[in-house]
Symmetry: D5
Amino acid sequence: MSASVSSTSAPYSELPAANVKLFEAKARKGATFDEIAKAVGKDEIWVAAAFYGQAKFAPEDLQKVSEFLGLEQASLDAELGAHWWPNRGLGPMPPTDPVLYRLYEAVLVYGHAIKAVVHEKFGDGIMSMIDCTVTVAKKEHPKGDRVVLTFDGKFLPYAKW
Amino acid sequence: MSASVSSTSAPYSELPAANVKLFEAKARKGATFDEIAKAVGKDEIWVAAAFYGQAKFAPEDLQKVSEFLGLEQASLDAELGAHWWPNRGLGPMPPTDPVLYRLYEAVLVYGHAIKAVVHEKFGDGIMSMIDCTVTVAKKEHPKGDRVVLTFDGKFLPYAKW
Amino acid sequence: MSASVSSTSAPYSELPAANVKLFEAKARKGATFDEIAKAVGKDEIWVAAAFYGQAKFAPEDLQKVSEFLGLEQASLDAELGAHWWPNRGLGPMPPTDPVLYRLYEAVLVYGHAIKAVVHEKFGDGIMSMIDCTVTVAKKEHPKGDRVVLTFDGKFLPYAKW
Amino acid sequence: MSASVSSTSAPYSELPAANVKLFEAKARKGATFDEIAKAVGKDEIWVAAAFYGQAKFAPEDLQKVSEFLGLEQASLDAELGAHWWPNRGLGPMPPTDPVLYRLYEAVLVYGHAIKAVVHEKFGDGIMSMIDCTVTVAKKEHPKGDRVVLTFDGKFLPYAKW
Amino acid sequence: MSASVSSTSAPYSELPAANVKLFEAKARKGATFDEIAKAVGKDEIWVAAAFYGQAKFAPEDLQKVSEFLGLEQASLDAELGAHWWPNRGLGPMPPTDPVLYRLYEAVLVYGHAIKAVVHEKFGDGIMSMIDCTVTVAKKEHPKGDRVVLTFDGKFLPYAKW
Amino acid sequence: MSASVSSTSAPYSELPAANVKLFEAKARKGATFDEIAKAVGKDEIWVAAAFYGQAKFAPEDLQKVSEFLGLEQASLDAELGAHWWPNRGLGPMPPTDPVLYRLYEAVLVYGHAIKAVVHEKFGDGIMSMIDCTVTVAKKEHPKGDRVVLTFDGKFLPYAKW
Amino acid sequence: MSASVSSTSAPYSELPAANVKLFEAKARKGATFDEIAKAVGKDEIWVAAAFYGQAKFAPEDLQKVSEFLGLEQASLDAELGAHWWPNRGLGPMPPTDPVLYRLYEAVLVYGHAIKAVVHEKFGDGIMSMIDCTVTVAKKEHPKGDRVVLTFDGKFLPYAKW
Amino acid sequence: MSASVSSTSAPYSELPAANVKLFEAKARKGATFDEIAKAVGKDEIWVAAAFYGQAKFAPEDLQKVSEFLGLEQASLDAELGAHWWPNRGLGPMPPTDPVLYRLYEAVLVYGHAIKAVVHEKFGDGIMSMIDCTVTVAKKEHPKGDRVVLTFDGKFLPYAKW
Amino acid sequence: MSASVSSTSAPYSELPAANVKLFEAKARKGATFDEIAKAVGKDEIWVAAAFYGQAKFAPEDLQKVSEFLGLEQASLDAELGAHWWPNRGLGPMPPTDPVLYRLYEAVLVYGHAIKAVVHEKFGDGIMSMIDCTVTVAKKEHPKGDRVVLTFDGKFLPYAKW
Amino acid sequence: MSASVSSTSAPYSELPAANVKLFEAKARKGATFDEIAKAVGKDEIWVAAAFYGQAKFAPEDLQKVSEFLGLEQASLDAELGAHWWPNRGLGPMPPTDPVLYRLYEAVLVYGHAIKAVVHEKFGDGIMSMIDCTVTVAKKEHPKGDRVVLTFDGKFLPYAKW
């Protein structure tokens, strides 16, 4: 029996062949990102980002992934190894999928408030999205479970010269 | 001596007169959002959002804000009270300010990873941006302080009918 | 004490002066659209649409509205009477306000399904948005009240010639 | 004789292979969404949405659909089952097809009126498009039949924190 | 009693002061474009286009218009006379007003068919929109009156060199 | 000898296979839309629109078209018959082809004039583009032949409720 | 040895197969547009436009082109002959290629000046881009050769009716 | 009697006050760009570009312009002199005015042909729009006068390093 | 004699009043950014960015600027001091001014090459535009002086977690 | 073992086949742009630009590249030789990849400052992006290495005529 990755929208069709292979192997094994992340020793969001071509696996990551998913490492190395660099950004904006749109809406509605408080707490600068970790946790709640999404990014003050 | 709110970009020019008055009173008093938030009994991000016209003050909030900032409550009530409802969303997208853009970039780069993990952890549905709290904390760090931005939103499963 | 209409976003700034006067009188009186609608003998959605300049009051509507809100009818007639026609459409799309966006999302997510079922039930044609009534009802529910939004539009078959 | 799904516009070309198979089987059998919906025990709009990849079939839904349309369930499970999640949103906006455009026009023309009445009836919050059912009914009328399109969505009040 | 021109949308706000004066005088007199057109000796569509700043009145047209509407000719001459040239095009596209949108939809739906038939009947070239007259007639019909909109434009064959 | 349909621009590439077959058979036979229209008993613009997937052939239309063009009816029925509905709208806007652009320019330049005259002649409502016929005639003229393009659409008054 | 046409950008991928064949034959022969133009008895810009599918070869042009380039005329006739009409416009705007962008910049920077002078010299009307010839000449100059690009288009006065 | 500059479209509203003064003085004097150009010793297109803020007058140009139009030089110097630099580009694109659009259409239709011939005649590089002169001439013709628009720009070869 | 800042394009109209005052004082004094920069002890590009509201003056910078330009410091402090934070980004994109466009073109043409070389030299990460200095130098050259524009930004490696 | 070029984003899919071959050969050999550049006698940025189809190899460059990478020169000549000219510009804007976006942000934030200083140092004109060299250097730094990106472009003064 073959398992394949389907989607009504563009993201998968923009992925390189190697990433599609990763998704297919994940589906075949029935593994979650959390299980793969534990095998690699990373967080599930980072691993999911790497599956979507938004982060770069180190050679040792590729080895653990290929082992866990039963893929040939040499082939992954050839496609996602030393000579490949992510071209980040996936799919059109504003996003149409409601999960993605709600994140976008967070920027629309709370962006200026976040910016104002960052300036008041840290001064003139930004929260880095490069030196930043992203996690998703499930918080159980009697009125309905909650998603706790956390960005932990370094503050970078503006250069003056 | 008068204090005024200036900005090179559009947000302030889109604000109603009542909100501009709030910002001017805040500047005059030299108060931070955190100080105002403590006076109101709310979080600073929520208060900043309300200053930017992205949330609605309850009558008792307006009373505390006007008291703290030395503004006439009746006038705020007339403009931001029972007959006013926020039209949320502020400024053009993609945002050009680097603080706002980094949040937007988070959606571009990590959006699909977050969506995938939400689905794996919760099933088919979304993280609400309506029943959601947003906080910004400062985490000190020897290599540079970090911004910890947290969204805590209810998971809403899709209706089937 | 003066009451005014404020908003963080564009709609009000695009309204002609006569409509702004209507909103101000409504706020001053503290009246809901439902109360005005009952005075005019129309549905609240239609009346709200007319306040936003999206529908045209008949002379007798203008008379009842001006009476109910204590406005001079002659002035409303001069501005919204025989020589005025609505230029429909208000504010940028996609809308940024979450209430409006959810309606837009309905088109994104359920549009093709609605189109397919309209074709199966009625044939090749459209649901008119001109000969169409729109209503909003509140349905109480133990797990949270529900909004029931109904469009009742004439089916128009395509001409063939 | 083979039956196929054709269209002048993009939606079908964005659908995953499994959904195209569903449409082809539907056309081969000459079944309407209403007939399929009765076999699945769901409403026709929800079933049409799922055919367009905008909703997720539960395993038991997939079983009933594959049985009714004479498709192999294992293959549908592999493609639309546990490891697949809808990426909602289909086709460009503003839509060019007149059926879809009239829905879009409803947002343009009546959006602000609906928003105002929702606020007056429920307070600051939104009508959920996640916990929402959508139905289309045919209402016969001597001057031309009418389409009755109803959205029944939970009201969600804004969090304050 | 003053009469003024109001509109919920942008066109009037883009008009030069002289054109706004024309609209105000027209409203004050309660005249239709047809009546003005008869006074000028032109078609009502052309006159309406000139009112919207989309065509240029000749000096004798300005004389007749100012006479008919009771405006001072010298002032119109100064603003719309020899030194003024129309910058044609008015308001954003796609248009949001349903009357304008239906014309736009005509291009979307029938554009390629019209192009194909023009080529078959005339060869490689275009129908001029410069040497073109536009008329609107009312055709009474028992099932509802009809609008007959006619464009009569010169065919221009492509140069070859 | 094979004949094929070529084009520098997108429209043909968006057409379903069945429509491409229609165009190829038309080119092979060297028939004009006028000749096909006479065989079908319809106007050439309607037939051209149907070839471009912008209108739906009735079963008897498909029979006459397939007979006239020497195509197998069963195959056309399967692709363009009962289970197919047009997704109208073809190609990007603003159109780049000069024939199409001139139609678009008609909306830009004369749209507001047409709207104003429709309102003055008919009241608040629109000219239907659904119950509308479109014709193109050739009018000979000593200074160059002219294209006469006519839209004859039902006036639809706005509902009030 | 095969010669092929390559390009980093979209234009070629939008060309119909027949035009790609023309470019390949041109590359194989190593001929310039000027040489082909001389063989056809036309200007090189017109010929290049026709290669890019922006103009229509007459039957005798196709005969001379096919002879000069060693292509089979029947095949060109079938694809670019009587049943084919150019869909003009090629590639996205604003153009990204610097040669094309500089032409676009000419419209941005000098467009209003050209328009003003055309009006002063000719009155209310346009310079036709249909009855217009376009030529490119090389003018040698000690400080660097110059490109002389000339548009010679008929002035078309606006109709009044 | 006062003379003023009017326009239905945006360009004038984007001009700085000094440029509006130039246009008003030009209208008051009833001078053409050609007459002003002769007084300044420049071409009329360059002078018109400078009036539209698309070029920079030298001090001696400003002196001649102010003398010819009867304006105070000191004031022009203060606003358009040493401390002012043009921000080139005027009005939205694609342009809606037909005169401007035809120039834009020239890029759409003939852009690739011009690029190809420039490369064949000059190699890899561009035609400068900075070191470029632009002229408009009137060519009389029995079938209708013609506009001859010429760009004479330096060829700039690409650097290689 | 008053000196004012004029521009044909939007940037100045988006600047807060305090920044316009800075530009006017600079023009009145006839000072270059280089001279102001020397007085402040910063680079001219940084000072120009701060004038355009793209950087934040420290209190001591404001003191030196106000002293050098003869402005009252208290007023600058009130508007650009502790309670003001830049909203960076100025004017629409793509930019229409040729100086700005050439920088934009650098991203279009050389962006991928720069990215590839940064990855090869530094690994997966970015060149910071926050911890980055920007300088412009004039390099004399017999064939024409050259602009040397240098960005010196910290390399930031991507976080992995 | 085969090596291939993969990417999550569009650039590679827009490249002509010859350029993909270059990237594959580079990956197979494990060569950096710097090594290839040394073999060709050019800078690595220029070579990378040429690999991305943004610059044109001279015949001798193609010979050295094919030799170094072990590719057949005849085939490269046929595809990238005399008859090929770059269509510059690659991928959509604004760019989504963070490396590219930071360059774009440089234009947004520092563009007007750079323009102002160029004018003050050189007068009215531009920095050429055609006669311009681009280099990337690594500068080691104890707090983190820095990227030094330099554009060295000829200043071009505006023509006046």
